[in-house]
Protein backbone atom coordinates (compact mmCIF):
# COMPACT_ATOMS: atom_id res chain seq x y z
CA UNK A 1 0.00 0.00 0.00
CA UNK A 2 2.85 2.34 0.91
CA UNK A 3 4.64 1.67 -2.37
CA UNK A 4 1.41 2.16 -4.26
CA UNK A 5 0.92 5.53 -2.62
CA UNK A 6 4.51 6.60 -3.23
CA UNK A 7 4.49 5.37 -6.82
CA UNK A 8 1.29 7.29 -7.44
CA UNK A 9 2.82 10.44 -5.94
CA UNK A 10 5.95 10.07 -8.04
CA UNK A 11 4.12 9.44 -11.28
CA UNK A 12 1.74 12.34 -10.76
CA UNK A 13 4.68 14.51 -9.76
CA UNK A 14 6.51 13.60 -12.97
CA UNK A 15 3.85 15.61 -14.83
CA UNK A 16 4.15 15.87 -18.61
CA UNK A 17 6.51 12.89 -18.93
CA UNK A 18 3.86 10.64 -17.38
CA UNK A 19 1.08 11.94 -19.60
CA UNK A 20 3.16 11.65 -22.77
CA UNK A 21 3.88 8.02 -21.99
CA UNK A 22 0.27 7.38 -21.08
CA UNK A 23 -0.89 9.00 -24.32
CA UNK A 24 1.50 6.91 -26.43
CA UNK A 25 0.50 3.74 -24.64
CA UNK A 26 -3.20 4.60 -24.82
CA UNK A 27 -2.91 4.86 -28.60
CA UNK A 28 -1.69 1.26 -28.72
CA UNK A 29 -4.38 0.31 -26.23
CA UNK A 30 -7.25 1.85 -28.23
CA UNK A 31 -5.89 0.59 -31.55
CA UNK A 32 -5.66 -2.98 -30.27
CA UNK A 33 -9.25 -2.86 -29.04
CA UNK A 34 -10.41 -1.21 -32.26
CA UNK A 35 -8.67 -3.69 -34.56
CA UNK A 36 -9.70 -6.69 -32.53
CA UNK A 37 -13.24 -5.30 -32.40
CA UNK A 38 -13.22 -4.88 -36.18
CA UNK A 39 -12.09 -8.46 -36.71
CA UNK A 40 -14.60 -9.80 -34.22
CA UNK A 41 -17.36 -7.71 -35.77
CA UNK A 42 -16.27 -8.72 -39.26
CA UNK A 43 -16.28 -12.37 -38.27
CA UNK A 44 -19.73 -12.10 -36.67
CA UNK A 45 -21.11 -10.15 -39.62
CA UNK A 46 -19.75 -12.49 -42.26
CA UNK A 47 -20.74 -15.56 -40.27
CA UNK A 48 -24.28 -14.29 -39.76
CA UNK A 49 -24.71 -13.38 -43.43
CA UNK A 50 -23.28 -16.69 -44.60
CA UNK A 51 -25.42 -18.75 -42.24
CA UNK A 52 -28.58 -16.89 -43.20
CA UNK A 53 -28.03 -17.14 -46.96
CA UNK A 54 -26.11 -20.39 -47.49
CA UNK A 55 -25.57 -22.71 -44.58
CA UNK A 56 -28.72 -22.44 -42.47
CA UNK A 57 -28.36 -24.71 -39.45
CA UNK A 58 -26.21 -27.22 -41.32
CA UNK A 59 -26.43 -29.14 -44.57
CA UNK A 60 -26.83 -32.68 -45.80
CA UNK A 61 -24.56 -33.10 -48.79
CA UNK A 62 -24.95 -35.79 -51.39
CA UNK A 63 -21.99 -38.11 -50.95
CA UNK A 64 -20.45 -37.06 -54.28
CA UNK A 65 -20.79 -33.34 -53.70
CA UNK A 66 -17.54 -31.42 -53.41
CA UNK A 67 -17.94 -27.64 -53.51
CA UNK A 68 -14.32 -27.26 -54.66
CA UNK A 69 -14.69 -29.66 -57.61
CA UNK A 70 -17.22 -28.55 -60.27
CA UNK A 71 -16.87 -31.91 -62.02
CA UNK A 72 -18.35 -33.61 -58.97
CA UNK A 73 -21.68 -31.89 -59.75
CA UNK A 74 -22.39 -34.36 -62.55
CA UNK A 75 -22.89 -37.15 -60.03
CA UNK A 76 -23.75 -35.10 -56.93
CA UNK A 77 -27.50 -35.68 -56.92
CA UNK A 78 -29.87 -38.13 -55.38
CA UNK A 79 -33.44 -38.54 -54.23
CA UNK A 80 -34.16 -36.44 -51.21
CA UNK A 81 -33.78 -38.94 -48.40
CA UNK A 82 -36.87 -40.01 -46.53
CA UNK A 83 -35.16 -39.23 -43.20
CA UNK A 84 -35.12 -35.48 -43.95
CA UNK A 85 -38.32 -35.33 -46.01
CA UNK A 86 -40.35 -34.80 -42.83
CA UNK A 87 -38.20 -31.73 -42.06
CA UNK A 88 -38.86 -30.43 -45.57
CA UNK A 89 -42.60 -31.02 -45.16
CA UNK A 90 -42.52 -29.07 -41.90
CA UNK A 91 -40.56 -26.28 -43.64
CA UNK A 92 -37.59 -26.98 -41.37
CA UNK A 93 -35.37 -27.89 -44.29
CA UNK A 94 -35.13 -27.08 -47.97
CA UNK A 95 -33.51 -29.07 -50.79
CA UNK A 96 -31.24 -27.40 -53.32
CA UNK A 97 -30.03 -28.83 -56.59
CA UNK A 98 -26.85 -27.59 -58.24
CA UNK A 99 -26.03 -28.39 -61.89
CA UNK A 100 -23.51 -27.07 -64.33
CA UNK A 101 -24.69 -25.00 -67.25
CA UNK A 102 -23.55 -22.41 -69.70
CA UNK A 103 -24.83 -19.11 -71.03
CA UNK A 104 -23.79 -16.86 -73.92
CA UNK A 105 -24.18 -13.26 -72.80
CA UNK A 106 -23.15 -10.92 -75.62
CA UNK A 107 -22.29 -13.99 -77.69
CA UNK A 108 -19.54 -15.07 -75.30
CA UNK A 109 -19.53 -18.47 -73.64
CA UNK A 110 -19.69 -18.52 -69.86
CA UNK A 111 -19.84 -21.43 -67.41
CA UNK A 112 -22.40 -21.05 -64.69
CA UNK A 113 -24.12 -22.97 -61.94
CA UNK A 114 -27.81 -23.59 -62.20
CA UNK A 115 -29.27 -23.67 -58.74
CA UNK A 116 -32.73 -24.97 -58.07
CA UNK A 117 -34.50 -23.82 -54.95
CA UNK A 118 -38.05 -24.16 -53.67
CA UNK A 119 -39.71 -20.71 -54.16
CA UNK A 120 -41.72 -21.25 -50.94
CA UNK A 121 -38.70 -21.90 -48.73
CA UNK A 122 -38.00 -19.63 -45.78
CA UNK A 123 -34.88 -21.33 -44.45
CA UNK A 124 -32.44 -19.14 -46.35
CA UNK A 125 -32.78 -15.39 -46.69
CA UNK A 126 -32.84 -15.42 -50.46
CA UNK A 127 -35.74 -13.81 -52.36
CA UNK A 128 -36.75 -17.20 -53.79
CA UNK A 129 -40.45 -16.31 -53.77
CA UNK A 130 -39.90 -14.31 -56.97
CA UNK A 131 -39.40 -17.69 -58.69
CA UNK A 132 -43.01 -18.77 -58.17
CA UNK A 133 -44.52 -20.38 -61.24
CA UNK A 134 -45.10 -18.07 -64.15
CA UNK A 135 -46.88 -19.22 -67.25
CA UNK A 136 -44.77 -20.01 -70.23
CA UNK A 137 -41.44 -18.87 -68.88
CA UNK A 138 -38.65 -20.21 -66.75
CA UNK A 139 -38.14 -17.54 -64.10
CA UNK A 140 -34.54 -16.89 -63.20
CA UNK A 141 -32.96 -14.82 -60.45
CA UNK A 142 -29.40 -13.47 -60.38
CA UNK A 143 -27.35 -11.28 -58.09
CA UNK A 144 -26.00 -7.83 -58.85
CA UNK A 145 -22.47 -9.11 -59.39
CA UNK A 146 -23.63 -11.66 -61.95
CA UNK A 147 -25.73 -8.96 -63.62
CA UNK A 148 -22.73 -6.68 -63.80
CA UNK A 149 -20.38 -9.33 -65.19
CA UNK A 150 -22.84 -10.59 -67.82
CA UNK A 151 -24.64 -7.34 -68.62
CA UNK A 152 -27.98 -8.99 -67.85
CA UNK A 153 -30.89 -6.78 -66.88
CA UNK A 154 -34.33 -7.33 -65.44
CA UNK A 155 -36.71 -9.13 -67.87
CA UNK A 156 -33.82 -10.11 -70.17
CA UNK A 157 -34.02 -13.51 -71.80
CA UNK A 158 -30.91 -15.58 -71.62
CA UNK A 159 -30.32 -18.93 -73.26
CA UNK A 160 -29.14 -21.49 -70.75
CA UNK A 161 -27.61 -24.79 -71.81
CA UNK A 162 -27.22 -27.84 -69.60
CA UNK A 163 -26.88 -31.58 -69.75
CA UNK A 164 -29.62 -33.89 -68.62
CA UNK A 165 -29.08 -36.85 -66.32
CA UNK A 166 -28.41 -38.91 -69.42
CA UNK A 167 -25.73 -36.57 -70.73
CA UNK A 168 -27.85 -35.00 -73.43
CA UNK A 169 -27.39 -31.29 -74.06
CA UNK A 170 -30.52 -29.22 -73.82
CA UNK A 171 -31.20 -25.52 -73.78
CA UNK A 172 -34.02 -23.13 -72.87
CA UNK A 173 -34.50 -19.45 -72.39
CA UNK A 174 -34.64 -18.17 -68.84
CA UNK A 175 -36.27 -14.84 -68.03
CA UNK A 176 -34.50 -12.73 -65.44
CA UNK A 177 -37.36 -11.87 -63.10
CA UNK A 178 -35.30 -10.48 -60.27
CA UNK A 179 -31.83 -9.11 -59.56
CA UNK A 180 -30.98 -9.24 -55.87
CA UNK A 181 -28.24 -7.54 -53.93
CA UNK A 182 -26.38 -9.62 -51.38
CA UNK A 183 -23.17 -9.23 -49.44
CA UNK A 184 -22.53 -12.96 -49.93
CA UNK A 185 -20.76 -13.68 -53.18
CA UNK A 186 -21.34 -17.42 -53.00
CA UNK A 187 -25.03 -17.00 -53.89
CA UNK A 188 -24.33 -14.45 -56.61
CA UNK A 189 -21.25 -15.02 -58.75
CA UNK A 190 -21.71 -17.06 -61.93
CA UNK A 191 -25.02 -18.61 -61.02
CA UNK A 192 -28.69 -18.45 -61.91
CA UNK A 193 -31.37 -19.47 -59.45
CA UNK A 194 -34.46 -21.13 -60.91
CA UNK A 195 -37.32 -23.07 -59.28
CA UNK A 196 -36.19 -26.48 -57.99
CA UNK A 197 -39.07 -28.29 -59.68
CA UNK A 198 -38.10 -26.78 -63.04
CA UNK A 199 -34.45 -27.75 -62.65
CA UNK A 200 -35.46 -31.30 -61.64
CA UNK A 201 -37.69 -31.48 -64.71
CA UNK A 202 -35.27 -30.13 -67.30
CA UNK A 203 -32.38 -32.25 -66.00
CA UNK A 204 -34.62 -35.31 -65.79
CA UNK A 205 -33.87 -35.74 -62.11
CA UNK A 206 -37.31 -35.63 -60.49
CA UNK A 207 -37.37 -35.49 -56.69
CA UNK A 208 -33.59 -35.22 -56.50
CA UNK A 209 -31.28 -32.66 -54.89
CA UNK A 210 -27.61 -31.97 -54.28
CA UNK A 211 -28.00 -30.80 -50.71
CA UNK A 212 -30.61 -30.23 -48.07
CA UNK A 213 -30.25 -27.10 -45.96
CA UNK A 214 -31.56 -27.44 -42.41
CA UNK A 215 -33.22 -24.69 -40.46
CA UNK A 216 -31.15 -23.08 -37.69
CA UNK A 217 -32.06 -24.29 -34.24
CA UNK A 218 -32.54 -27.92 -35.23
CA UNK A 219 -30.33 -30.12 -33.14
CA UNK A 220 -31.15 -33.65 -34.26
CA UNK A 221 -29.59 -34.73 -37.54
CA UNK A 222 -30.29 -38.37 -38.31
CA UNK A 223 -27.64 -40.24 -40.28
CA UNK A 224 -28.68 -40.76 -43.89
CA UNK A 225 -27.22 -43.36 -46.19
CA UNK A 226 -25.44 -41.76 -49.16
CA UNK A 227 -25.64 -38.28 -47.65
CA UNK A 228 -23.20 -36.60 -45.25
CA UNK A 229 -24.31 -34.09 -42.67
CA UNK A 230 -22.05 -31.05 -42.42
CA UNK A 231 -22.47 -28.98 -39.29
CA UNK A 232 -21.71 -25.26 -38.98
CA UNK A 233 -18.30 -25.89 -37.44
CA UNK A 234 -17.31 -27.66 -40.63
CA UNK A 235 -19.07 -25.29 -43.00
CA UNK A 236 -17.61 -22.18 -41.37
CA UNK A 237 -14.13 -23.62 -41.04
CA UNK A 238 -12.80 -21.92 -44.17
CA UNK A 239 -14.40 -18.64 -43.22
CA UNK A 240 -12.89 -18.72 -39.74
CA UNK A 241 -9.50 -19.59 -41.20
CA UNK A 242 -9.70 -16.65 -43.59
CA UNK A 243 -10.72 -14.22 -40.83
CA UNK A 244 -7.97 -15.60 -38.65
CA UNK A 245 -5.46 -15.10 -41.44
CA UNK A 246 -6.63 -11.54 -41.98
CA UNK A 247 -6.58 -10.82 -38.25
CA UNK A 248 -2.94 -11.96 -38.16
CA UNK A 249 -2.06 -8.95 -40.29
CA UNK A 250 -3.76 -6.77 -37.72
CA UNK A 251 -1.95 -8.57 -34.93
CA UNK A 252 1.40 -7.76 -36.51
CA UNK A 253 0.37 -4.11 -36.72
CA UNK A 254 -0.67 -3.87 -33.13
CA UNK A 255 2.30 -5.90 -31.93
CA UNK A 256 4.51 -3.26 -33.54
CA UNK A 257 2.44 -0.56 -31.85
CA UNK A 258 2.76 -2.33 -28.52
CA UNK A 259 6.50 -2.75 -28.98
CA UNK A 260 6.90 0.96 -29.69
CA UNK A 261 4.85 1.87 -26.65
CA UNK A 262 6.80 -0.60 -24.52
CA UNK A 263 10.06 0.83 -25.82
CA UNK A 264 8.88 4.24 -24.61
CA UNK A 265 8.13 2.82 -21.16
CA UNK A 266 11.42 0.93 -21.07
CA UNK A 267 13.36 4.04 -22.05
CA UNK A 268 11.51 6.09 -19.48
CA UNK A 269 12.39 3.58 -16.80
CA UNK A 270 16.04 3.37 -17.84
CA UNK A 271 16.28 7.16 -17.93
CA UNK A 272 14.44 7.38 -14.62
CA UNK A 273 16.91 5.08 -12.96
CA UNK A 274 19.81 6.94 -14.48
CA UNK A 275 18.53 10.39 -13.57
CA UNK A 276 17.26 9.40 -10.17
CA UNK A 277 20.33 7.61 -8.81
CA UNK A 278 20.80 10.27 -6.18
CA UNK A 279 17.14 10.07 -5.26
CA UNK A 280 17.52 6.32 -4.86
CA UNK A 281 20.49 6.86 -2.57
CA UNK A 282 18.40 9.27 -0.54
CA UNK A 283 15.52 6.79 -0.34
CA UNK A 284 17.97 4.12 0.84
CA UNK A 285 19.42 6.50 3.40
CA UNK A 286 15.92 7.22 4.63
CA UNK A 287 15.45 3.51 5.23
CA UNK A 288 13.95 2.08 2.09
CA UNK A 289 15.08 -1.46 1.27
CA UNK A 290 16.24 -2.47 -2.21
CA UNK A 291 13.19 -4.66 -2.63
CA UNK A 292 10.97 -1.70 -1.81
CA UNK A 293 12.89 0.46 -4.28
CA UNK A 294 12.52 -2.11 -7.07
CA UNK A 295 8.84 -2.41 -6.21
CA UNK A 296 8.43 1.36 -6.24
CA UNK A 297 10.02 1.84 -9.64
CA UNK A 298 8.22 -1.16 -11.14
CA UNK A 299 4.94 0.14 -9.83
CA UNK A 300 5.65 3.58 -11.28
CA UNK A 301 6.07 1.90 -14.66
CA UNK A 302 2.93 -0.14 -14.18
CA UNK A 303 1.01 3.04 -13.42
CA UNK A 304 1.71 4.08 -17.01
CA UNK A 305 -0.41 1.12 -18.07
CA UNK A 306 -3.24 2.17 -15.74
CA UNK A 307 -3.04 5.78 -16.83
CA UNK A 308 -3.00 4.68 -20.47
CA UNK A 309 -6.26 2.84 -19.85
CA UNK A 310 -7.73 5.99 -18.32
CA UNK A 311 -6.47 8.28 -21.08
CA UNK A 312 -7.58 5.72 -23.66
CA UNK A 313 -11.03 5.62 -22.07
CA UNK A 314 -11.38 9.39 -22.39
CA UNK A 315 -11.11 9.41 -26.16
CA UNK A 316 -11.49 5.71 -26.89
CA UNK A 317 -14.97 5.17 -25.44
CA UNK A 318 -16.69 7.88 -27.53
CA UNK A 319 -14.64 6.98 -30.60
CA UNK A 320 -15.19 3.23 -30.44
CA UNK A 321 -18.84 3.59 -29.44
CA UNK A 322 -19.43 5.85 -32.41
CA UNK A 323 -17.83 3.36 -34.82
CA UNK A 324 -19.76 0.52 -33.21
CA UNK A 325 -23.06 2.37 -33.73
CA UNK A 326 -22.47 3.91 -37.13
CA UNK A 327 -20.21 1.25 -38.61
CA UNK A 328 -17.05 1.70 -40.57
CA UNK A 329 -17.90 2.46 -44.19
CA UNK A 330 -16.02 0.30 -46.68
CA UNK A 331 -15.01 1.25 -50.20
CA UNK A 332 -17.01 -0.37 -53.01
CA UNK A 333 -14.06 -2.50 -54.09
CA UNK A 334 -14.26 -4.54 -50.87
CA UNK A 335 -17.41 -6.10 -52.35
CA UNK A 336 -15.10 -8.40 -54.28
CA UNK A 337 -12.76 -9.27 -51.39
CA UNK A 338 -14.39 -12.62 -50.84
CA UNK A 339 -15.98 -11.68 -47.54
CA UNK A 340 -19.63 -10.84 -46.94
CA UNK A 341 -18.73 -7.49 -45.38
CA UNK A 342 -21.62 -5.40 -46.61
CA UNK A 343 -21.28 -1.64 -46.97
CA UNK A 344 -20.06 -1.20 -43.44
CA UNK A 345 -18.27 -3.15 -40.77
CA UNK A 346 -19.74 -2.92 -37.31
CA UNK A 347 -17.01 -3.69 -34.77
CA UNK A 348 -17.89 -5.72 -31.70
CA UNK A 349 -16.14 -4.93 -28.44
CA UNK A 350 -16.73 -7.58 -25.83
CA UNK A 351 -15.97 -7.12 -22.14
CA UNK A 352 -13.43 -9.92 -22.53
CA UNK A 353 -11.64 -8.03 -25.30
CA UNK A 354 -11.47 -4.79 -23.30
CA UNK A 355 -10.47 -6.41 -20.01
CA UNK A 356 -8.07 -8.77 -21.78
CA UNK A 357 -6.36 -5.92 -23.60
CA UNK A 358 -6.18 -3.88 -20.38
CA UNK A 359 -4.64 -6.85 -18.59
CA UNK A 360 -2.19 -7.45 -21.46
CA UNK A 361 -1.06 -3.81 -21.50
CA UNK A 362 -0.73 -3.78 -17.72
CA UNK A 363 1.24 -7.03 -17.55
CA UNK A 364 3.56 -6.09 -20.41
CA UNK A 365 4.10 -2.59 -18.98
CA UNK A 366 4.90 -4.04 -15.57
CA UNK A 367 7.38 -6.50 -17.05
CA UNK A 368 9.22 -3.87 -19.12
CA UNK A 369 9.26 -1.63 -16.05
CA UNK A 370 10.67 -4.35 -13.88
CA UNK A 371 13.53 -5.31 -16.21
CA UNK A 372 15.56 -2.08 -15.91
CA UNK A 373 14.76 -1.68 -12.21
CA UNK A 374 16.62 -4.90 -11.48
CA UNK A 375 19.77 -2.79 -11.72
CA UNK A 376 18.78 -1.12 -8.48
CA UNK A 377 19.53 -4.38 -6.71
CA UNK A 378 23.23 -3.88 -7.50
CA UNK A 379 23.25 -0.29 -6.34
CA UNK A 380 25.39 0.63 -3.31
CA UNK A 381 23.77 3.41 -1.25
CA UNK A 382 27.01 5.40 -1.06
CA UNK A 383 27.49 5.24 -4.82
CA UNK A 384 23.87 6.16 -5.44
CA UNK A 385 24.20 9.18 -3.16
CA UNK A 386 27.19 10.31 -5.19
CA UNK A 387 25.17 9.79 -8.39
CA UNK A 388 27.20 6.77 -9.44
CA UNK A 389 25.75 3.63 -10.98
CA UNK A 390 27.56 0.42 -10.00
Amino acid sequence: MLLLKLAFRNIIGAGLRTWLNAAALSFAFVTIIFLQGVYTGMNDQVEKATISTIYGGGQYWHQHYDPYDPLSLTDAHGLVPAEVQSYIDQRSATPIMIRQGSIYPGGRFRNILLKGIDPRQSILIIPSSVLSAKDGIIPGMIGTRMAKHTGLKLNDLITVQWRTAHGTFDAREVTIVHIFKSTVQEIDNDQIWIPLSVLQQITELPGEATMVVMKTGITAFPPVDGWNFKNLDFLLMDLHSMVKFKSMGGSIFYTILMLLAMLAIFDTQVLSIWHRRKEMGTLMALGMTRTQLIGLFTMEGAFHGIFAALVGAIYGIPLLTSVERNGWALPQSTDNFGFAFGDKIFPTYSAGLILGTAALVLVVTTIVSFLPTKRIATLKPTDALRGKMT
Binding site: L6, R9, A14, G281, M284, A285, G287, P381, L385
Partner: protein
Protein backbone atom coordinates in the same frame (compact mmCIF):
# COMPACT_ATOMS: atom_id res chain seq x y z
CA UNK B 1 19.90 -5.32 20.50
CA UNK B 2 19.58 -1.80 21.89
CA UNK B 3 22.35 -0.50 24.15
CA UNK B 4 21.83 -0.03 27.85
CA UNK B 5 21.89 3.39 29.53
CA UNK B 6 25.61 3.39 30.28
CA UNK B 7 27.03 2.05 27.06
CA UNK B 8 27.90 4.50 24.28
CA UNK B 9 25.50 5.07 21.42
CA UNK B 10 28.23 4.55 18.85
CA UNK B 11 31.52 2.75 19.29
CA UNK B 12 34.20 1.89 16.76
CA UNK B 13 37.11 -0.43 17.46
CA UNK B 14 40.10 -0.69 15.16
CA UNK B 15 37.85 0.36 12.32
CA UNK B 16 39.46 0.22 8.88
CA UNK B 17 38.10 0.98 5.46
CA UNK B 18 40.21 0.34 2.39
CA UNK B 19 39.41 0.96 -1.26
CA UNK B 20 41.19 -0.82 -4.08
CA UNK B 21 42.15 1.59 -6.83
CA UNK B 22 43.80 -0.21 -9.73
CA UNK B 23 46.95 -1.72 -8.23
CA UNK B 24 46.99 0.44 -5.09
CA UNK B 25 44.97 0.26 -1.92
CA UNK B 26 43.64 3.50 -0.47
CA UNK B 27 43.25 3.64 3.31
CA UNK B 28 40.12 5.75 3.81
CA UNK B 29 39.92 4.94 7.54
CA UNK B 30 42.83 3.64 9.55
CA UNK B 31 42.31 2.13 13.00
CA UNK B 32 39.51 4.40 14.18
CA UNK B 33 38.52 4.03 17.83
CA UNK B 34 35.87 6.44 19.03
CA UNK B 35 32.83 6.37 21.25
CA UNK B 36 29.86 8.70 21.03
CA UNK B 37 27.37 9.10 23.86
CA UNK B 38 23.73 10.08 23.68
CA UNK B 39 23.07 13.76 23.15
CA UNK B 40 26.51 14.66 21.83
CA UNK B 41 26.97 17.47 19.31
CA UNK B 42 30.05 16.19 17.58
CA UNK B 43 31.98 17.08 14.47
CA UNK B 44 34.23 14.94 12.32
CA UNK B 45 36.59 17.59 11.09
CA UNK B 46 39.35 17.42 8.54
CA UNK B 47 40.39 18.27 5.02
CA UNK B 48 38.88 16.67 1.93
CA UNK B 49 39.81 13.00 1.66
CA UNK B 50 40.47 12.64 5.38
CA UNK B 51 37.70 10.01 5.76
CA UNK B 52 34.94 12.10 7.38
CA UNK B 53 32.18 11.06 5.00
CA UNK B 54 33.35 7.44 4.95
CA UNK B 55 33.13 7.26 8.74
CA UNK B 56 29.75 8.98 8.68
CA UNK B 57 28.51 6.49 6.05
CA UNK B 58 29.67 3.52 8.13
CA UNK B 59 28.01 4.90 11.27
CA UNK B 60 24.87 5.41 9.15
CA UNK B 61 25.10 1.81 7.91
CA UNK B 62 25.30 3.02 4.32
CA UNK B 63 28.70 1.37 4.05
CA UNK B 64 30.53 -1.35 5.93
CA UNK B 65 34.04 -1.52 7.33
CA UNK B 66 36.79 -3.55 5.69
CA UNK B 67 37.90 -4.71 9.14
CA UNK B 68 37.37 -3.80 12.75
CA UNK B 69 34.03 -3.08 14.26
CA UNK B 70 31.44 -0.32 14.26
CA UNK B 71 28.64 -0.66 16.76
CA UNK B 72 25.63 1.61 16.54
CA UNK B 73 22.88 1.32 19.15
CA UNK B 74 24.26 -2.09 20.04
CA UNK B 75 24.14 -3.32 16.45
CA UNK B 76 27.32 -4.31 14.65
CA UNK B 77 27.31 -2.60 11.27
CA UNK B 78 29.61 -5.16 9.66
CA UNK B 79 27.15 -7.94 10.47
CA UNK B 80 24.04 -6.21 9.18
CA UNK B 81 22.22 -7.48 6.11
CA UNK B 82 20.86 -4.95 3.59
CA UNK B 83 17.45 -5.27 5.15
CA UNK B 84 18.75 -4.85 8.72
CA UNK B 85 20.75 -1.80 7.65
CA UNK B 86 17.64 -0.28 6.11
CA UNK B 87 15.73 -1.01 9.30
CA UNK B 88 18.42 0.62 11.44
CA UNK B 89 18.40 3.77 9.30
CA UNK B 90 14.66 3.83 9.14
CA UNK B 91 14.15 3.46 12.88
CA UNK B 92 17.04 5.33 14.46
CA UNK B 93 19.04 7.49 12.06
CA UNK B 94 18.31 10.74 10.27
CA UNK B 95 20.45 12.04 7.43
CA UNK B 96 21.20 15.59 6.32
CA UNK B 97 23.10 16.02 3.07
CA UNK B 98 25.21 18.76 1.61
CA UNK B 99 22.91 19.06 -1.42
CA UNK B 100 19.73 18.69 0.65
CA UNK B 101 18.56 15.66 -1.39
CA UNK B 102 14.90 16.56 -1.18
CA UNK B 103 12.57 14.52 -3.33
CA UNK B 104 11.75 16.93 -6.14
CA UNK B 105 8.23 15.81 -6.98
CA UNK B 106 7.06 15.94 -3.36
CA UNK B 107 5.93 18.99 -1.45
CA UNK B 108 7.73 20.10 1.71
CA UNK B 109 5.07 18.33 3.77
CA UNK B 110 5.45 15.10 1.78
CA UNK B 111 9.24 15.21 2.02
CA UNK B 112 9.10 15.49 5.78
CA UNK B 113 6.35 12.89 5.95
CA UNK B 114 8.35 10.32 3.97
CA UNK B 115 10.33 8.67 6.84
CA UNK B 116 7.10 8.35 8.83
CA UNK B 117 5.41 6.60 5.91
CA UNK B 118 8.26 4.09 5.86
CA UNK B 119 7.82 3.60 9.59
CA UNK B 120 4.11 2.98 9.13
CA UNK B 121 3.06 5.81 11.44
CA UNK B 122 -0.71 6.39 11.44
CA UNK B 123 -2.19 9.29 9.46
CA UNK B 124 -3.24 11.47 12.38
CA UNK B 125 0.02 11.01 14.25
CA UNK B 126 1.94 11.56 11.05
CA UNK B 127 0.32 14.90 10.41
CA UNK B 128 0.98 16.00 13.97
CA UNK B 129 4.64 14.96 13.80
CA UNK B 130 5.23 16.57 10.39
CA UNK B 131 3.71 19.88 11.51
CA UNK B 132 5.76 19.72 14.72
CA UNK B 133 8.96 19.16 12.72
CA UNK B 134 8.13 22.00 10.36
CA UNK B 135 7.47 24.21 13.37
CA UNK B 136 10.89 23.33 14.80
CA UNK B 137 12.54 24.54 11.62
CA UNK B 138 10.15 27.46 11.12
CA UNK B 139 8.60 26.30 7.85
CA UNK B 140 4.97 25.62 8.79
CA UNK B 141 3.82 28.11 6.16
CA UNK B 142 5.77 26.39 3.35
CA UNK B 143 4.24 22.94 3.80
CA UNK B 144 2.65 22.94 0.36
CA UNK B 145 5.66 24.32 -1.51
CA UNK B 146 7.76 22.20 -3.83
CA UNK B 147 11.55 22.04 -3.23
CA UNK B 148 12.11 24.03 -6.42
CA UNK B 149 10.25 26.95 -4.82
CA UNK B 150 12.56 27.10 -1.79
CA UNK B 151 15.84 28.90 -1.15
CA UNK B 152 18.95 26.92 -0.20
CA UNK B 153 18.50 27.74 3.48
CA UNK B 154 14.85 26.73 3.41
CA UNK B 155 15.69 23.51 1.57
CA UNK B 156 18.25 22.56 4.18
CA UNK B 157 15.74 23.31 6.93
CA UNK B 158 13.29 20.94 5.23
CA UNK B 159 16.07 18.34 5.17
CA UNK B 160 16.59 18.89 8.90
CA UNK B 161 12.86 18.53 9.52
CA UNK B 162 12.90 15.29 7.51
CA UNK B 163 15.87 14.01 9.55
CA UNK B 164 14.34 14.78 12.92
CA UNK B 165 10.63 14.19 12.27
CA UNK B 166 10.82 10.61 13.57
CA UNK B 167 12.91 11.83 16.51
CA UNK B 168 15.80 9.47 15.78
CA UNK B 169 18.57 8.66 18.21
CA UNK B 170 21.22 9.93 15.79
CA UNK B 171 21.32 12.59 13.08
CA UNK B 172 24.21 12.41 10.64
CA UNK B 173 24.91 15.60 8.71
CA UNK B 174 27.41 15.59 5.86
CA UNK B 175 28.66 19.11 5.15
CA UNK B 176 25.23 20.57 5.89
CA UNK B 177 26.30 24.16 5.33
CA UNK B 178 28.48 23.69 2.25
CA UNK B 179 25.86 25.10 -0.10
CA UNK B 180 24.65 27.88 2.19
CA UNK B 181 25.70 31.46 2.81
CA UNK B 182 26.95 32.55 6.23
CA UNK B 183 23.59 33.79 7.53
CA UNK B 184 21.80 30.62 6.50
CA UNK B 185 24.61 28.46 7.87
CA UNK B 186 24.28 30.04 11.32
CA UNK B 187 20.53 29.79 11.10
CA UNK B 188 20.74 26.08 10.32
CA UNK B 189 23.30 25.40 13.03
CA UNK B 190 21.21 27.27 15.56
CA UNK B 191 18.22 25.17 14.64
CA UNK B 192 20.17 21.93 15.03
CA UNK B 193 21.77 23.07 18.25
CA UNK B 194 18.33 23.86 19.66
CA UNK B 195 16.96 20.49 18.58
CA UNK B 196 19.96 18.77 20.15
CA UNK B 197 19.17 20.45 23.45
CA UNK B 198 15.43 20.01 23.17
CA UNK B 199 15.28 16.40 21.91
CA UNK B 200 18.66 15.11 23.17
CA UNK B 201 19.31 13.80 19.68
CA UNK B 202 22.92 12.97 18.97
CA UNK B 203 24.22 15.06 16.06
CA UNK B 204 27.35 14.07 14.16
CA UNK B 205 28.66 16.40 11.48
CA UNK B 206 31.22 15.81 8.79
CA UNK B 207 32.57 19.26 8.07
CA UNK B 208 35.49 21.55 7.51
CA UNK B 209 33.38 24.67 7.79
CA UNK B 210 34.54 26.94 10.61
CA UNK B 211 30.99 28.17 11.11
CA UNK B 212 29.87 24.64 11.94
CA UNK B 213 32.94 23.99 14.07
CA UNK B 214 32.12 27.00 16.21
CA UNK B 215 28.93 25.25 17.37
CA UNK B 216 30.50 21.89 18.22
CA UNK B 217 30.93 20.54 21.72
CA UNK B 218 33.27 17.80 20.60
CA UNK B 219 35.61 17.81 17.66
CA UNK B 220 37.23 14.70 16.22
CA UNK B 221 39.93 15.69 13.76
CA UNK B 222 40.71 13.21 11.01
CA UNK B 223 43.81 13.33 8.87
CA UNK B 224 44.50 10.70 6.20
CA UNK B 225 41.93 8.39 7.73
CA UNK B 226 43.34 8.53 11.27
CA UNK B 227 42.03 10.29 14.35
CA UNK B 228 44.55 13.01 14.99
CA UNK B 229 42.75 14.79 17.81
CA UNK B 230 39.61 14.19 19.84
CA UNK B 231 38.77 17.35 21.80
CA UNK B 232 35.96 18.52 24.01
CA UNK B 233 35.08 22.03 22.87
CA UNK B 234 33.62 25.03 24.49
CA UNK B 235 31.17 25.96 21.76
CA UNK B 236 31.57 29.56 20.74
CA UNK B 237 27.93 29.86 19.75
CA UNK B 238 26.32 27.23 21.93
Amino acid sequence: MMNDMNSPLIRTEHLNKFYSLASTTLKALDDINISVAKGEFLGLVGPSGSGKTTLLNIIGSLDSPTSGSAEVLGMKIELQSHKESSRLRNDHIGFIFQTFNLLPVYTVYENVEFPLLLLGTSGVQRKQMVMQALEWVGLEDRAKSKPSQLSGGQSQRVAIARAIVKQPAIVLADEPTANLDAANSHNIMNTMSELNKQLETTFIFATHDEKVISYLRRKVTLVDGRVEKDEIMEPVRY
